[in-house]
């Protein structure tokens, strides 16, 4: 209804057809944002139609976006504009999506262009960017005597130990039961070894060896749980509840993307607690005394190869990414090059944290990483093996850190060899 009303208004405003470039038609946009599709998205459309009065934008919200889309992509009917699902490998992009331009050229205008690119062509642009770090309750940390972000893994673990000793809070909360919060750890890739992180991983037969990034990331999680600094029963956690617990000072910290900050603020508001209590710090990895924080794009938006209105679709994407307030509204980093960090991340600037973006993957190796981890059945961007990791660390499964990582290494090595064949 709202769409129709907006369209009528727009048509009413401009009796002479052909606004900018004379683009017209209706485009369908698939979105995972069922929460704002009838509110904020409609406002964006109204704004959009001031420039493009003859383009109608219809949204199709999908609750289980990844699952539904995997099935939809087997047909030719998956809207005009959609978010590229995470399960798609890079070499499949040309089968489903229109190329948007070369990475080099688009890179001048947009951040994160390499994340959904294949053979130098970009197939999807990030809707907004996030930085990975950890949300923390500043009060709890101050009670434990920590007011500065720890700069090394040891300092971080010491800080959590101090919270355990000095306060009643659970120092670290894994959110094991929901699963997806565990995937946030992988978004730290790049924070330890820099932009070439993925290339280093696929070149290694044993990424879970001291000195390598995957060891640093997963090792830190292992050590936290192993030292008893995580929640006592991880199997019954609940994400929605965990936000309130952190705001309320019952949880010390959680590793998450910066997208979570507005949600903590909302939780604080609902509970009548000051938002100032919630902080967001970079992970304890430094390079030459400077914090390195991994920054990546959220879902990338692309154009269906079967779209009958590709120009209008492109107009929407460009407008949505550069003109709309979507990124700001999400507390995310706007993707247009040169735009400022959102207010939520001002603390990162104050700490001089360097944001690390992924470097382009060499041609021909675009899907090597996913080929290896799928073959090895190590879901780097999923929750399965990190759950096993936590089970091992908390003593619920057999084996210690060395044995667990040795097993990961051997699976990775074997898969790497079989993919290379």
């Amino acid at each position: 209804m709202v769409v129709a009303a907006a369209a009528v208004v727009a048509v009413g405003c401009s009796p002479d057809d052909g606004g900018e470039g004379g683009l017209s038609g209706t485009i369908t946009v698939l979105t995972n944002r069922t929460d704002v599709v009838d509110t904020r998205f409609q406002e964006y459309v109204q704004e959009f139609q001031r420039t493009y009065p003859d383009i109608d934008v219809e949204f199709e919200p999908l609750t289980d976006y990844e699952g539904d889309l995997q099935v939809r992509l087997n047909t030719n009917d998956y809207g005009d504009v959609l978010l590229i699902p995470d399960s798609m490998t890079k070499d499949q992009l040309p089968q489903f999506f229109e190329p948007l331009g070369s990475a080099e050229e688009l890179g001048e205008a947009y951040r994160y262009v390499n994340e959904q690119a294949f053979e130098g062509q970009v197939y999807g642009l990030a809707t907004f960017g996030v930085v990975t770090g950890y949300a923390l309750n500043l009060d709890v940390w101050a009670q434990a005597g920590v007011t500065e972000p720890p700069a090394t893994e040891e300092e971080f673990l010491d800080a959590l130990q101090a919270i355990e000793a000095e306060t009643d809070a659970i120092p670290y909360y894994t959110n094991y039961a929901d699963g997806w919060p565990l995937t946030q750890w992988q978004n730290n890739q790049g924070a330890v070894v820099g932009p070439e992180s993925v290339q280093e991983r696929v070149a290694s037969d044993a990424p879970w060896t001291p000195g390598q990034e995957q060891y640093a990331i997963d090792g830190l999680l292992y050590d936290i749980v192993d030292a008893g600094l995580a929640e006592p029963d991880p199997t019954t956690t609940n994400w929605e509840e965990s936000k309130n617990l952190l705001v309320d000072g019952e949880i010390g910290s959680m590793v998450l993307g910066s997208w979570s900050i507005p949600q903590f603020h909302e939780a604080a508001e609902e509970m009548g607690v000051s938002q100032e209590n919630v902080g967001f710090w970079p992970m304890p990895w430094q390079d030459d005394g400077t914090f390195q924080a991994a920054s990546g794009g959220d879902y990338k938006i692309g154009i269906s190869q079967h779209s009958e209105n590709k120009e209008a679709a492109r107009a929407w994407i460009d407008w949505f990414l550069t003109e709309s307030d979507f990124a700001q509204d999400e507390g995310g980093i706007p993707v247009a090059v040169g735009s400022d960090l959102p207010d939520e991340l001002v603390s990162f600037e104050e700490m001089d944290a360097r944001l690390v973006e992924m470097a382009p993957v060499p041609e021909g190796e675009e899907s090597l990483d996913s080929d290896i981890y799928n073959e090895a059945e190590i879901d780097l961007f999923g929750d399965q093996y990190r759950r096993s990791l936590i089970d091992s660390a908390r003593g619920a499964a057999s084996g210690d850190k060395d044995a667990f990582f040795a097993d990961l290494n051997s699976r990775w090595g074997d898969a790497r060899a079989s993919v290379a064949d």
Partner: protein
Amino acid sequence: MAALRERCRPAPQPSPRVSGSRGTARRSWRATPWLFLLVPLGFLVLFTYVPVTNMVWYSFTSWDGLDQTKDPVGFDNYVKIFTEPEIFSVFLVSIYYLVAALIQLALALYFATILSFRTRFRNLFKGVVFFPYLLNGVAIGLMFLYFFRPDGTLDALVALVGVNDPPHWLGDPSIANYALAMTSVWRFMGLNFVLFLGAIQSIPSELYEAADMDGATAWQKFRYIILPGIKQIVGLSMILAISGALSVFEIPFIMTGGANETSTFVIETINTAFTFSQVGLASAMAVVLLCIVLFISWAQRMIFPEGKSDLV
């Protein structure tokens, strides 16, 4: 024999029409049941046989669920299933559910027997026992998640009897499967109960009267009247229990997501298909599970052949 069959066949309907149109009239009469069946059969083919055929075809490919080309790989996927011990070892988890299912059948039979006689608040108890089955599986999963969590309902209950340091019901892998299996008993006992109750009530009451006159005890009535009378249903329930135990999915998937050594074959299949993008291998796993369940059903027909109960 031929004469007999001739006699059994309904006499041809005298047709008021001329002989020319007689054939068509008869044919349309014969087609009527098929016309009624057309829609349900269409759905059956469309939503069951076509997908299963596709699944069998996928199981011979290395498809990842998205790619536009599906490369045939012959029996590779099946070879992988039967040569990698990790894939089959998850069936061990089914043993918990199988044992739980036997407990479930015993309880259901007990309640059905008691409540088929005159008992105070009989209808209320029938409702109470059957009610969990009406609840949505997801709701049950969430409800029991709260029930089992630390300082949750169960911990409060055991604290009443003096256990102050209860284990983590879902967090401890040596207990988690028992907790999940018991949740499954709670949920599905109502179904078995209703099946048994219906069967028991179809036993003619004269048999009980005769047994009473002979001075039979309650146990004897159960052993010699009820049990033989509902043999078929018990056999069927056993088969459902076994195939159910092999394909457990909902409760562990919602409550633990298969973590903490509670993964089942169906959860592994889903992960293989959608987490590791190996739809080909996952389809092969599904085909293997289908074959196992078909085999068990066949075995059931062999062990409990169809026929009258030997009660009367």
